[in-house]
């Protein structure tokens, strides 16, 4: 008889159990849905004191029952909304030497658009039948307008995208010291172009 000296095979019967265990573990811990969206801050319910605003400082956006867009009294496609909002925000109509002159604005300084980004208000109206999708699309375009302007200023001042700074700020790996610096920068950019989107009976300002 020959001599058998080989190592016996390890029983693989329970590999299935291990595999199932891993499978269940990953099924439970990972989620399919992506949780991201447009952040908004609703105004508190206490009556906010009324403020008088010049018509030129208001950018009216209206959405009707059929999700059609009316901007400053004229029909507009969604594609053009961002450009138009940017032109309005970046206008800086107050002339040089007057208080409230916008030094960093690169707009046309038109007489019928906003005096100063700080005063510029976007007024978003919709009916009860307007679809939520259209509303989100408009919100998205308006936020995009703000973001592009903020990016521009941020690149000029700090050489970094505003959006990138924000992502870094909310990242958990960023150290506290870094966050402190970022916070100052973000605040500074936000004061240059403060987001002011108002909605009738539920006006919102951004974070």
């Amino acid at each position: 008889m020959p001599i058998h000296n080989q190592v016996p095979e390890v029983n693989a019967g329970s590999m299935a159990d291990i595999a199932f265990l891993l499978l269940i573990f990953f099924l439970v811990t990972t989620t399919l849905e992506t949780d991201e969206g447009l952040q908004r801050l609703l105004p508190p319910q206490e009556n906010v004191p009324e403020i008088e605003v010049h018509e030129r400082n208001v950018f009216r956006v209206q959405l009707n029952d059929k999700d059609q867009l009316l901007v400053e009294g004229e029909v507009l496609e969604l594609d053009d909304l961002k450009q138009k909002a940017k032109a309005f925000l970046d206008n800086g109509g107050t002339s040089k030497g007057n208080p409230g002159h916008c030094v960093y604005c690169k707009g046309n300084r038109a007489a019928d658009l906003s005096d100063n980004p700080d005063k510029a208000i976007i007024y978003l109206e919709h009916t009860r039948i307007t679809s939520y999708g259209a509303y989100v699309a408009v919100q998205n375009e308006l936020v995009a307008a703000y973001n592009e302007l903020r990016n521009r200023e941020s690149l000029l001042a700090y050489g970094e995208n505003y959006a990138a700074m924000e992502t870094r700020f909310y990242d958990e790996k960023t150290t506290l010291v870094e966050k402190e610096v970022l916070k100052k920068k973000i605040k500074q950019i936000r004061t240059l172009f403060p987001q002011k989107i108002l909605e009738p009976n539920a006006n919102t300002t951004a974070l």
């Binding site: 016996p8 265990l21 439970v28 949780d35 999708g133 699309a137 995009a144 909310y170």
Partner: protein, 160 residues
Amino acid sequence: MAKFAKKKDGDLPAVSTASLPDIVFMLLFFFMTVTTMKDSSIMVENNLPTANQTKKLEKKDRIIYIFAGKPTREYQNVYGTETRIQLNDKFANVNDVGSYILEERAKKPQELQNVLTTALKVDSEANMGLISDIKLELRKVNALKVNYTTSEGDAFNNLN
């Protein structure tokens, strides 16, 4: 014969795997108790609108979800096809939103109660009237941080 038996003893004995299932089950129970399952199944249609200027919602424990949309087909016999709000596992009216938020807020640890975000997961075909009503309710209970949850994509897809 005696010589044969001795040689057989020289082979390595098979590793006993009888206790492996026990170990696996132990691990399984460990994960089952430590991780939390997703809490609610969605009973409404939930095609989120798309947007690209979004921010990520990082911390799951600071979010209260509100779903809205048409009831899915299996619930349409009972609840009809009108857009409805879903809170936890139940369909609800607009008036229930406030108390739901307060209830959820009370469940959270003290230090998180002021930093909660309400995520609105609303079907893109829902009407804005309902959203306005929800927002009004949220303002009543001072839940001012809102997130319109969207999926990644071009915002122009929403219009058609």
